[in-house]
Subunit: 214 residues, 2 copies
DNA sequence: TTCAAGATCAATGTATACAGATTCACGAAG
DNA sequence: CTTCGTGAATCTGTATACATTGATCTTGAA
């Protein structure tokens, strides 16, 4: 694997996981020494982070981790609505129903689980639904836009703590989306997606800041 | 201005204007010498082109200008529908109506023009409508997605020749979009946008290949 | 005491040199 | 004649050295 790819992956993960906070300065020499690569591949990694919107370039002061606050969440979710609702419509028209029937069952089961490991399992399941929708849509332009969007969503998710109750409701909402796609009904899938996005945004805006950052 | 920015702008323009055809190999040393910059800033420019989707990186063979063919047009327009229809809705809710009333008049006037310079004037006007919608939406995430999309659209546009008749009809469609936004009616604006995209796609798919490349 | 101007320093932007990898071509063997 | 292997050439990937720009601190004057 190329050194620039490694540097990019490490920095991206650290930014998404809030180990690098918004406003943190990414000095080239400093990060290059820390990651054990030269400045050249690190600069390439920084350029990709800037292209992703995870960092912004200040001239003379280097790159800093981009800000993410409640003021931008409405904007982020507006893009999410545009992309995910249309994706759900397209997936409902082109999907292989059996995959989504299975996903629906697994979401319903996940909604009944309350053990400690259920949170990570739920996030994995949600990521799997995203992947299946991507595969069903099979549109490289939309896929790229969704990938870019999901990176920002992963950052924003840390703003609000997902409590078990929210996870259970969210599982039902995901099940409804899978059900709509499995039924090959574009408008039902779109409506279920819109409902889910609405509740997700409301939850984040209500519970923002409740998370104690370590 | 930085050398890497200049190299990026030049290469991007040449790709969009089909001076660099799909499949053309962008050798680093070759392009660096041609543009009068070193390999380091040129590599940064290539990385940005790859991030934009205008080039794809082959290992060992360098970067080649990405392919754009009729098979991808449906995918591209699916993304366009998702983004532009939602943008029109949001713009209709937040716009300053007077700007769009003016734009509507200018589109109606442009639709009556038939002189040789009308084509470029029309494209400039359409770009101005895009800018005004962007400003009304005032959503950096959507704006970035739209910018990325429009680069690809500019490439695709060269696949089909816009004849005067199509330009006149397109002007009326743009006027309808501006009218819907000026009336602050989201669904009218969305419908006008959908209609325009449908006709635009139909025109491209019907007239593709009719353009004699110089 | 405060503001401004200059100098110094540090960090970015660029160039070049070197190493590793991949591809293409040529030759030999089946 | 085709196919596989080897070798060379070229191109990418990385590192380092140098230049240039911007930021910060200090000093002097009002």
């Amino acid at each position: 694997m190329r050194a620039s790819d490694r540097a990019y992956e490490v920095l991206r993960t650290e930014i998404v996981e809030w180990r690098l906070r918004p406003g943190a300065v990414l000095g080239e020499v400093e990060q290059a020494e820390r990651l054990g690569v030269s400045r050249t591949p690190l600069r390439e990694a920084l350029a990709r982070l800037v292209a992703d919107g995870l960092a912004v370039q200040h001239r003379g002061r280097g790159a800093v981790v981009s800000d993410v606050s409640l003021e931008h969440i409405d904007d982020l979710f507006a893009l999410r609505r545009a992309l995910e609702i249309e994706s759900a419509r397209i997936a409902a028209r082109r999907s292989n129903p059996e995959d989504f029937v299975r996903l629906r069952s697994r979401f319903l089961e996940a909604g009944r689980r309350t053990d400690p490991g259920s949170r990570e399992a739920f996030y994995d399941l949600a990521a799997e639904l995203d992947s299946c929708i991507d595969a069903a849509v099979s549109n490289p332009y939309i896929s790229q836009a969704l990938r870019s969007l999901r990176v920002h969503l992963a950052r924003v998710r840390r703003l609000a703590q997902d409590d078990p109750e929210r996870l259970a409701v969210s599982a039902l909402e995901h099940a409804a989306i899978a059900e709509g796609i499995a039924a090959r009904n574009p408008e039902v899938a779109a409506a279920a997606t819109q409902l889910h996005l609405h509740h997700s945004l409301e939850h984040i805006k209500t519970h923002a800041g409740s998370r104690e950052d370590t």
